[in-house]
Symmetry: C2
């Protein structure tokens, strides 16, 4: 019998779940709307039903040995989702317990960026690395920090919020209530604000354009040689490079991986980021730390991350 | 037979060394001038001679089981001191090997701030803590980061340089060649610059005073109610609080310990630091992370740190 794990990624809009083997092969991938389930127990029931049914067809060769969950505001220590602003669920939800009660296997939960970081370590570009930082450039900026082969959770499981490092004390208003957080500059939302600011700054009449722009639009514009779009990437990379250089002073990683929509812009984002990174690095770190694109496929990262979380734990347990 | 370790702290001016038992009791403390030994082998010979002689008087009850070394630019992985700007030694010095060749016991080396952090964990206020940050406010700002009970070394052993996080991209010139590093504001040197700036700003004629001021002088002035001195502490604390709030976003420690001359200024430095810290913390971290004075005695910290480094390793090895 081979081992399979159930991987579940809870998103504000959709919940993706699947079955994954210990080599990272995805045998099943499905999704349901998270929003349709204001009561978490109902979502858990539906997802577990699907997983149980699917396991029937694999039952000859495979055994379900664990569940990994990636969720916003996921607390690894308690297996809970706590006050997640993007979910309709209230308060503290003991999500890991809800799943393990139904599926009767070890269940582990962490936040989505941490899960993806572990995915990068097990099945992506961080294979064999013991010290790296994983950055997701999505609506916000998420991060997972790995030190000496282990995820950094901190004393309360909420370590790794690099998106909320204050870069400019009187900078842009952040959704967290403070000002100048990194993610207000370096994220899909951040570059959109930068691009809008650039258009506004020379009284570009196409305000509408500025408002509808998303990261993909800005990328397409940059590809067409649009100066503001290219400048928006440059400014984003300049701040990101500084922030990553500062991050190195904490954990001195071997590499930093960039994941998410903005990271797909290739040289437009990597070139200015790496330039600023090297310029701002302390001498002892210069020219030895790589900034790399994630090797996880955009579509599989959430599932692989959640799967990796539980696979890593089970592998550690099985170790003699 | 009880176990003893030799503890050695290499400073730019003096090298302090001693013998310490596993309870942190210092049985011997001596020092020699580092500057008198431009060839590291000569320093090692003299220190080892002293240690061997001292061991003779303890040889009935004690056995030497290890050597711990704290040194500037110490590389834990290689046991080397690398291009230390404050030492007269050139290039890469295999200091741990030089000691173990003479004393024939396990020898471990790290930088001084890391060693002191481990000292805080074994014999100070961080006893029982698994996640904390240790900050030394001396001539510069040194730091040691502990995650899940282990020192963070990073991929090259040079993690934990919080003093060189760039706080203000066009800020004060730092000795490292870059601008705006935290230690140019938050250190004995930093507060001296801030105090001088304050005096200059209202054309205070006592330029000489500004030039001769050291942290102790500014503290004494603050005690007398001097507004500029108090303002210098306030500004230092404001920046330190912001930097520490940002640090929490990396490793979410249970506590942050402040050590060194500036930390001895008590409320003058702690009050503005804690105020700024709480103001700048992300909501999820507020009111749960302590900023505390180190419980290591100023005079013993270097020796206890170096001793702790090797004691921690030996205890781990002996663990069944």
């Amino acid at each position: 019998m081979q081992h399979l794990v159930a991987a579940i990624d809870i998103g504000g809009t959709n919940t993706v779940f699947g079955l994954v083997d210990f080599n990272g092969k995805i045998l099943l991938k499905e999704n349901v709307s998270t929003e349709h389930f204001p009561i978490p127990e109902d979502l858990v029931a539906v997802v577990c039903e699907h997983i149980k049914k699917a396991m029937l067809q694999f039952s000859k060769d495979y055994e379900l040995v664990g569940v990994g969950i990636g969720a916003p505001n996921g607390n690894y220590f308690n297996g809970t989702v706590e006050f997640a602003p993007n979910l309709k669920w209230f308060g503290v939800v003991p999500l890991a317990k809800l799943f393990s009660d139904k599926l009767h296997v070890k269940t582990v939960l962490t936040n989505d960026a941490n899960a993806a970081a572990i995915g990068e370590m097990m099945f992506g570009g961080a294979k064999g690395m013991k010290d790296f930082i994983f950055i997701t450039l999505g609506t916000g900026l998420g991060s997972g920090i790995v030190v000496n082969g282990e995820m950094v959770y901190g004393h309360d499981s909420f370590a790794g919020e690099i998106g909320h490092v204050i870069m400019f004390p009187d900078g842009r208003q952040c959704g967290c209530g403070r000002k100048g957080c990194l993610e207000t500059y370096c994220s899909a939302t951040g570059i959109k604000r930068t691009y809008s600011d650039l258009l506004m700054s020379h009284h570009d009449k196409s305000n509408l354009q500025a408002r509808v722009a998303d990261a993909k639009y800005i990328y397409d514009k940059a590809m067409q040689g649009d100066k503001d779009a290219i400048a928006a990437f440059d400014q984003t990379g300049e701040i990101l490079g500084l922030a990553l250089a500062n991050s190195v002073a904490y954990t001195s990683p071997q590499a930093i991986f960039l994941f998410g929509g903005l990271a797909l812009a290739g040289d437009f984002i990597f070139k200015p980021t790496i330039k600023s990174f090297e310029e701002n690095l302390l001498n002892i770190y210069k020219n030895k730390i790589k900034i790399l694109p994630s090797e996880l496929k955009e579509n599989d990262a959430a599932i692989l991350g959640a799967a990796s979380l539980i696979i890593k734990e089970l592998k550690t347990e099985y170790r003699p």
